[in-house]
Structure formats: structure tokens, C-alpha cells
Symmetry: C2
Subunit: 427 residues, 2 copies
Amino acid sequence: MTDPIRLGIAGLGTVGRGVVRIVQTHRDLLASRAGRPVEIVAVSARSRKDRGVPLDAYAWEDDPVALARRDDIDVFVEVMGGAAGPAKDATEAALAAGKDVVTANKALLAIHGHALAEAAEATGRVIRFEAAVAGGIPVIKALTEGLAGNEIRRVMGVMNGTCNYILTRMENAGLTYDEAFAEADGLGYLEADPELDVGGIDAGHKLALLAAIAFGTRVDFPNVRLEGIGSVTIEDIRQAADMGYKIKLLGVAQMTGRGLEQRMSPCLVPDTSPLGQLQGGTNMVVLEGDAVGQIVLRGAGAGEGPTASAVIGDVIDIARGLRLPTFGQPVGALRQARAAYAAVPAPYYLRLSLVDKPGALAKIAQRLGEAGISIDRMRQYGHEDTAAPVLIVTHRTTRLALDEAIAAFDSTGVVEAPPVAIRIEEV
Amino acid sequence: MTDPIRLGIAGLGTVGRGVVRIVQTHRDLLASRAGRPVEIVAVSARSRKDRGVPLDAYAWEDDPVALARRDDIDVFVEVMGGAAGPAKDATEAALAAGKDVVTANKALLAIHGHALAEAAEATGRVIRFEAAVAGGIPVIKALTEGLAGNEIRRVMGVMNGTCNYILTRMENAGLTYDEAFAEADGLGYLEADPELDVGGIDAGHKLALLAAIAFGTRVDFPNVRLEGIGSVTIEDIRQAADMGYKIKLLGVAQMTGRGLEQRMSPCLVPDTSPLGQLQGGTNMVVLEGDAVGQIVLRGAGAGEGPTASAVIGDVIDIARGLRLPTFGQPVGALRQARAAYAAVPAPYYLRLSLVDKPGALAKIAQRLGEAGISIDRMRQYGHEDTAAPVLIVTHRTTRLALDEAIAAFDSTGVVEAPPVAIRIEEV
């Protein structure tokens, strides 16, 4: 098998440039690992501006769909991004034309992954997307292949580096959310639509892809319960730290007796856990299997080199002859899981502001007790005004019971401000 | 491709039993992921005692070589262990008979891996050994496949859970080395020959395998510089902790301008780093590539479930048609690297016991300066006898320069006991 594997690259932004660089600088290394030369044949991008890498040796296509259909490419590398439009059209065209596809596009797969996987099966082609989830961390491979002997119990991850950067800056530098957000923006860390980052959408796309592989279910992004980091306050970060926790935008997918639970939301995790110790823009994914126990993977979740590394890994897999169904099993074998929410009990962190009167705390404790919630730890802080800040860590309970208790707080007349409740994920 | 993949399992100890359990309990799951049924056809072990799993449905072979040659198996699963003898004979027989091999045997591959890889190529078969390195962590896969687009810069790891358990117990419970060793022994954590664990041999085997894949070199275990944990004292663990470090039995493989450096030795690492935070029997491997940066993998390094998970992952890879050369490249492409030692400079931790006289420290500082070594931090502790304990963290230097300086300490007449010098690995 010494025929070269021929790539057509659509998109010459950060990731595309990185892919070109690796192919150009590691020609011999890639050939010896792939068992055949890896060649770029043609590229496509929105403009022909200078990209800092020589492109003269490659054919140019203005239209990525035309690129995808070229007779002289084996693999269509889609690194344009976007959940629809040219990325979708070109990927469909590539599969229809009998090309394998390597993509970094989490939005495209989270929304159209099922149809694309079917299209790939129809023409016997493969879609690989290691770069779409957690950048350079080979987590799709670990989950689909390395842990294939496991019934997966839970998948968790901090998969949006920008959010983790903002939370880490709030924590370490005492910035408010707005200040940390502005700093991340100034550094160019935010997507054009920042809500993709801070609203948890981008990370939610990634979680939906991991869940499909982990549980053999159809990709179900609409049922990822999304909660961004905009509501996280410096006050809660400080109080959580004081009780031994960090606040992370954590994605969790878990198969429960009531269905598949997928959520992307701020959670407390112990500050001594690998997730709790994750600083800055780094990503971490935790995979839990019945045989293997807990596997933790950590690395850069974005950037030219890490993302291009993942793309090239997929290209070499294809060159080596590895041909798997898109989500590890044929589309027909993927189940449509019932969506569950709040099915898994957990301890909760509660921050309350109570009127400074005798018996106030007793009333709160009573309402919690009536909802079947017991208190693990409680702290009342010194204060200067009439409201007393109170922190409670509950024992394991359901979100439903907690919401009932919180609703019942109203009638006590001792709660000054809306209570803050954040799940403590048991990692 | 709906023919079953048929396994012959040689060895029914902890790992073998785990493999049988997964195949028996996850029949449908494995079939859907592998694309074909996974079946056990025959087994072999030293005795027919009860293993806690039903074996009646499988043919029995007293001789693993006979098992390896059976016409009705596709994959020979070698989970007997041992660097020579039956494991080697049976693996050779399996390859000669045209069977693929999945093994958990690090010693066999570290010593005979090259010849076995050649035998596999001669008959067009594959050898997979994910279970041989870091148990359930899919690190062979991450390195060989996921990071295939990278020039690997460095591979590091804590890959012997028993040693990390002993060091962690010394650190957290204040046990001496002998006490912690006895505790690990009582818990059954030690190999029959404990030197395999505490002497760094077992972990050294694993490092040699990772290095071959990482650098495209022939497996070269004899040139892994081994230093066990027997010389680590509670005193050094405490002093290191006080300066913000942990002591770990750390394997490091690195390609340098002077050749391939492979060492397995106690090192200091920052207590805030992922390696520094690793507690108990858990394993961690750090992979550094030019594009991907640093990838950290963490999980159980031993035990029935994790090791069997890795074996089954390999079996499913084979069932899915993934066929790679043993070390990621054909044997003929692997270079014989020159062995280097102490080629990479590093900071060092130095613990000295100096006579309590004016000018003693100045004499030591002078000798270090003469060897070109500058001091980053220094601490002198209060003491009750005539010898003053002094701790020095040097700036980056070579081991050669440090050894020169230490030799020169003798002539000062102020050093009371042999100095302790431990490398600080920059992670």
C-alpha cells in the first residue's frame, strides 16, 4: 500500500494552516507511520490571502463543494466550521462522491451527524472527527476504541477552554465575570458569537457526540440541558473555594434508569480532584467504564497545533486502513434514548441570604427536612448588614426535591435574595 | 463481516479471568462494537482449579503452545506473563501458525519484542499489547495512533502503581520505606520478585516499549537507566514537600542530540503538577508532541478490570480490521538509537549534612560555582546536633557537572554524610 493518500483541505484558518504545516514539515514521519505518503492535492478557502504557509503546489478551489468532488482526492478535510452552509454541503458532496471525511466541526456533527453518518454508510466511507472534541486529546479514539470492552457509566468533561479560562481568572485574580469575560475577549479567546462559549453550546455539542459513542445512542444535542457560566458570581467561587470546591463548566452524560441524562452546566467539584485542579484553557475528559474504572485525559482543547494533530491522526488512521462506523456502531444500531433530566441525585451547594433574626436558620433547615434533604455541612458568616450569608452543603438529593424546598423557603419570610443552588458533581 | 472472532486465552490468573468475564457479560455490546461476535473457543492454564467463571463451554489445553496452534482460533490472547518460557514459546507458535496475538506481557515484549514483531510481519499477523503498559489507560493507542502526526518530544510516566503506593504512604502517613514496603506486601501489591516493582524493572519495561513507538527506534530495554525507590528516605520526602515537590518513580524517554535517553528513577516533580498530584496505585503517562503539546493520561495501572479492558480493546481493534505494525512502523524502519544518559540538563535537589562551623556553606557554594552550577534556592534548618541539614535547589545543570561538584565537596571537610542528589524533572 504505497499509493499516497491525497487530501483536499477546505478551510485555511487556524486549523487548516496547522494541517498544512504538519504535512509539509513531517513528510517522512507521516509516511513511515501511515505506511504511505500523505499528500495535499487541493485546498479551498474564502480568500487567497497569505496564510503563512506555501500553497502554490496545491490546486485551488473557490468552492469547497467542487473541492470535495475532485477526482484526485481520497480524503476531504473539512476545517471551515459552521453547522450548516458550505461545510454541510461540501461534506455531503464528499461522501456522495465516495471520499472519506475528516472534520473538526462539532456543530455540524452534533446537529447533522446522524444524517451524515447514514450518507457515509451508503457509500462505504468513513467520517472521523477527533479534532471536533477536546482538540488534541485523543478522546474519541479512547472512547470508541480503547474502551470498547466497557459498558460506559459516565462521561464528564471540561471541554471549553475559554469558559475554564474565565472561571480560573475569577478564582485566581478575583475578577468579576464581566471583567474576566472582557479579558478573554481581548485575548481573542471568544467565538464571534460568545454565547457559543459562555452559554455552553460549543461544549454541549461535544458532549452530545461523546454520549452517542459512549451509550450507543443517536446524537441528541437538543436534549443536552445547557446552562452557561454567566450566572456564576465571584461570591460563589470564593465560598466554594472556602469549602474545598472549584466551580467548573462541566459536561456530564450518564445513562440512568430513566433515560439518557446530558447536561452542561456550572458544577462544584472537589479542589483536589483532577477536574478541580484544571487551570486556564486546558481541557479534561473523564471516561468511566465498568471494567476500566475512571480514565482521565488532559490536554490542549484548541489551537493550531493540537487541533491539527487530531486531524492528522484521523488521516493516518484512514491511511492505515482503519474503517469504523462514525459513532462506533452502524447508524441502524444506535438507539433513540429517552431524555432524562435531574435523574441522578447529588449533593448541592446552597447559598442563602437570610434576615438576621433568631430562628431564621431553623426555618430553612425545617423546609429542607420536609423535602427529605439532610444537611452535610453548614456555615454562617459574619456580616455587617441585616442579611446573614449562609452556606449549606446538602447530602445527596434530587434537583426536584431541592427545587421544592427552595420554593418553600418563600413562605418562611426569612430569605432576603433568590437562593443560589449549584450541583456538586461527585467525581 | 459477521464471522465471529475466536479467541484462545492462555493464562487464567487475574487478567485472564477478567477477559473471560467481559466476553461473557458483554456479549451483545462487544458484537455491536466489533461488528461481529467475540467468542472464546479454548483456554489454557497451569491448573484446572476453579477460577470463579464458568469455563465448561471452552476447550481446554494443558499446553499453551498447543492452544496457540489450534485451527479454530483467530487470536491468541497471552496473559500468562513471564519474559521467557511458555509465554514466549506459545506467542512464537501462535504467530507461526498465522494467529494474531494480544498480550499483556511487558517483559516478553521489552526483551523479545523485536524478534516477535519480525515474526508477526513474516506471517502478516499483528501483535497488540495495550494491556502491557499502564493497565487500562489506552496509552499505546494514544501514542501510536492519536498522536501519529507528532514528532514526539518526551514520554514520561508513573507506571508502577506499587511504587507510587509506597511513596504516597511514606508521604501521607509518615511511614519509613521499610514500613510502607511491608504494608504493600501485606496487601499483595508486590510481584513475587519485589525487585521487579521497587527496582523499577517492570516500569522500565513499559518505558522501553513506549520509547520504541514514540521515537521509531528498536526496543532497547538494556539501556533504560534503572534506579529503584529503595534509596528514597522519609527525610527527603518531607524536605521535598516543604519546598513544593513530590518524589515519584518517574520514567522519562527523550530523544536528545546525543541519542535516546531512557531512565526510570526517583525524581522530584512540582506538587501542583498532574504527576505531583498522583496518589496511591494510579498510573499516569504524559506524552509531549511538537504539535499537540502535552497530553496527560491517568487511570488504573493494574487489576482485573482495567487490564482486561485493555485486552478486549485490542481484540475489538483486530475484529474491526485495524492492522498496524507492532511498534507503529515496520521493524525494518525502526532505527537503532544511540543510548544517551544524562544528556538533558535539569535542576537538582541536593540535601547535605554540613558540620556546624562558620563558612561551611560558603565552601559548598564555592564548589558548586566552580562546577558552573548556580543555586536557585537554599534552606538551612534548625538542628540539635553538630550537623546542619542544608537543602539546595540548583538551577538547571547536567548530572556530570553535579557529580563533579559533589566529588569536590569531599575536600572541603565540611560534609558529614554522603550528599543526596535527586533530579527535578521539569514537567
